[in-house]
Subunit: 141 residues, 2 copies
């Protein structure tokens, strides 16, 4: 049995009920910085927790992202990915292998000017291209 204390503490701090699907999904995200989709999360945890359902993974990621514990990212092809890091950074999406990598970026506030009369809740910076690993493989072939 894994140690879910960190996940449990965070859920409690947000006033969320402690349930097994939430612990398992959130702990997986805390441990894996690969920005998985719901499908990938499901297949990664279903061995250790055979009774989990797709619905639960969708429910849990929705709940956690609404609470601000995790980030919901949308890839250039419209797939939803989840990220347990909540400090600001950008994302790089590989067009070949669909991996998602973190980008270090300066504070956005320095150049972002909101549209007059609008309210901004989040800013996203992302890049598309070929990741280092795929670039390397291309040269070989």
């Amino acid at each position: 049995m894994r140690d879910f204390s960190r996940a449990e503490k965070a859920l409690k701090a947000e006033g969320l009920r402690i349930t097994r699907p939430r612990l398992v999904v959130y702990d997986y995200l805390l441990d894996n910085k690969t920005h998985p989709t719901c499908d990938q999360i499901y297949h990664s945890i279903v061995n250790d927790y055979p009774h989990i359902s797709f619905s639960s993974v969708y429910n849990v990621t929705e709940k956690l992202s609404n609470s601000g514990l995790i980030l919901k990212l949308v890839s250039p092809c419209g797939e939803m990915h989840y990220d347990s890091t909540n400090c600001f950074h950008g994302h790089f999406y590989c067009l070949k292998c669909s991996c998602v990598l973190d980008l270090d970026l300066p504070d956005v506030k320095s150049f972002y000017k909101p549209i007059s009369g609008s309210t901004t809740t989040s800013i996203t910076i992302s890049a598309e291209g070929i990741c280092p690993m795929c670039s390397k493989n291309e040269q070989v072939n």
Copy 2:
């Protein structure tokens, strides 16, 4: 009959065949800077061009965005929008009415540092929030 000369010229310049669906869809995008989805494009043009099919709208937007004539945008909820403007700018997505507005932004190159070994094909900056019109309506209610 509309004047499709601008659309026709652009298609020719890209070496693309001049077809009615392409002229109609591209001309619509040139005239409407509302960043519509394929569904919205279809419903906007079907009256003037009753025989157009959903497939054609999808095919045409795909072809035009691959050629660089139009931009394919993904909204925070994963919907695909299309934009005939091809100079760099950001986008603001309203969480209430789902409208998409243009954002003026400085040149990204000033702060973007690509991941070592990667190739970047495009950079995207977007913001989420409540647009000016929805903000105004909220205050009234």
